[in-house]
Amino acid sequence: MDRLFHHFRWRGFVLPLAFLAFWWLATTYHWVSSSVLVPFGQLYQSALDPEVSRSLFVGLEASFTRLLEGSALGISLGLVLGVGLGLSRTFDRMIGPSFHAARQVAIFAWIPLLTAWFGNGDICKVVFVALAAFYPVVMGTYEGIRSVPIQYLEVGRVLCFSRVRMLRRIILPSAAPSIVTALQLSLIFSWFAAIGAEYVIGKMSNGIGSVVMAAQDNLRPDILLLGVILISLVGILMNKILRQIPRYLFRWRDA
């Protein structure tokens, strides 16, 4: 049974391997032009070229910095709004409808407005990343706080907890799993937004998205492909790392 399971697991690799085989055949027998699909060898050579790898890693660093700046801004504002909406019914009734309406706007639809307000430089991209990070945090925090069991709140009331102590000792820890899930989503969305912003909002930046766009303009499919592979790897890696955090933080709920 166990072996069969592993069999099934490996079936996931059939398609990628077939693709790689096709790639190899296509480039070796010149079925397609090398500007569409770069031969393996050339990709490998480019990766070893110090100038190419330097531009890619400088780009990665720049994009990552913007990701951190933007998500820090979006997450902190999102936490404040989420806690506010979760704790106060009045605040929820006042702000809630506008927030949920704004949430319906597809994130990329903000770009023309953002470029009009903040230009097409770094600030605009950071704001865009912040916006992407903002929504999931507000939703997760709000839901987490609203679903704190009343039984736990009564424990705090019987122990004469002040509002601050109630928040610190009961409400936030109870909402923590939901908030952390939201933070994970938020960081992933921020990464999409950081790259997306570089693709869409002006190429005059040094992020890895811009490096990829420039490679397209300069007819360097090898750099383009390396850039895309690097972006995907960072996304996969972030996902893997972020998945481990709740496992450690919330040991108390695992059986």
Binding site: Q151, V155, C160, R169, S174
Partner: protein
């Protein structure tokens, strides 16, 4: 003789921060009405009850007789009622640390360990960290959970979780402890054992206890006074004094007679 008294066990087992005194509880003409679909529904009617300091009183009755509502009013989670509820002569208007409650579900916070859960009761107190740690340790010993300090609630059996909940409610040194069917969800063996434990804790802590139960034998086994409630609206049918000495014997004819008396009032 003094040597025997000063063995480490004797010194450490009784919590040192003794409460000032056990509370006297007085309910005068307490009535409560809920609004259900715009119509008034009377849940409590003219409850008059006196609980002496250090007394163990149980409230028994079928479901819907407002037993739990009475406890919620005393602890201050619910404040809307007619009549007066007095603790040591002072009216109750909100929750207070001189009153404590053990719920039917243990309500331990799942993200805190046993000792952190028990320490929660002292979170707002001005005790030094050393005193706090000592008080928590004493109460863990009191309820017999030594060795489980670092366990999370999900790792505990129902009986152990309820012991931890009892320790959390006692750590604040309340004058009165309210127990809302604390043993109802436990298997019968654990239940018998925890009944003994409750008696031991009561006699050591000398705290006033008011317990709600629907188990007649449990009520007669534990309490000084059994208050029989009638349902819809909840009202007191009869108070029956249990003047048997502890430890009580469940097969003793006198015990059986009292149990029978309570059952007759309940099924009246």
């Amino acid at each position: 003789m003094s040597l025997v008294l000063e063995t480490p066990e004797a010194v450490s087992s009784a919590p040192k921060t003794a409460r000032k005194h056990a509370g006297a509880l007085n309910l005068r003409n307490v009535s409560k009405t809920y609004q259900v679909d715009g119509k008034p529904l009377k849940v409590l009617q003219n409850i008059n009850l006196v609980v002496e300091p250090g007394e163990f009183v149980t409230l028994v009755g079928s479901s819907g007789c407002g037993k739990s509502t009475i406890l919620r009013l005393i602890v201050g989670l619910d404040t809307e009622c007619q009549g007066e509820i007095l603790l040591d002569g002072a009216p109750i208007t909100e929750p207070g640390l001189e009153r404590s409650i053990v719920f039917q579900e243990h309500r331990l916070l799942p993200w805190l360990t046993v000792s952190q859960n028990i320490a929660l009761g002292l979170d707002a107190s001005r005790l030094s960290p050393a005193e706090r740690e000592r008080t928590v340790r004493e109460h863990i010993e009191l309820v017999g959970l030594s060795g489980f300090e670092k366990a999370f609630p999900r790792q505990l059996s129902g009986g152990m979780a309820q012991r931890a909940a009892i320790a959390r409610s006692l750590v604040t040194q309340p004058e009165i402890l309210l127990l809302d069917e604390p043993l109802a969800a436990l298997d019968s063996l654990t239940r018998l054992h925890l009944q003994q434990e409750l008696l031991r804790i009561w006699s050591r802590e000398k705290v006033t206890m008011v317990m709600v139960t629907h188990d007649v034998e449990e009520a007669v086994f534990l309490s000084d006074k059994v208050v029989v409630l009638a349902p819809r609206p909840g009202r007191i049918r009869k108070e029956i004094a249990i003047d048997l000495p502890h430890p009580r014997n469940r097969v003793d004819p006198a015990f059986g007679a009292l149990r029978q008396a309570v059952i007759e009032e309940l099924t009246h």
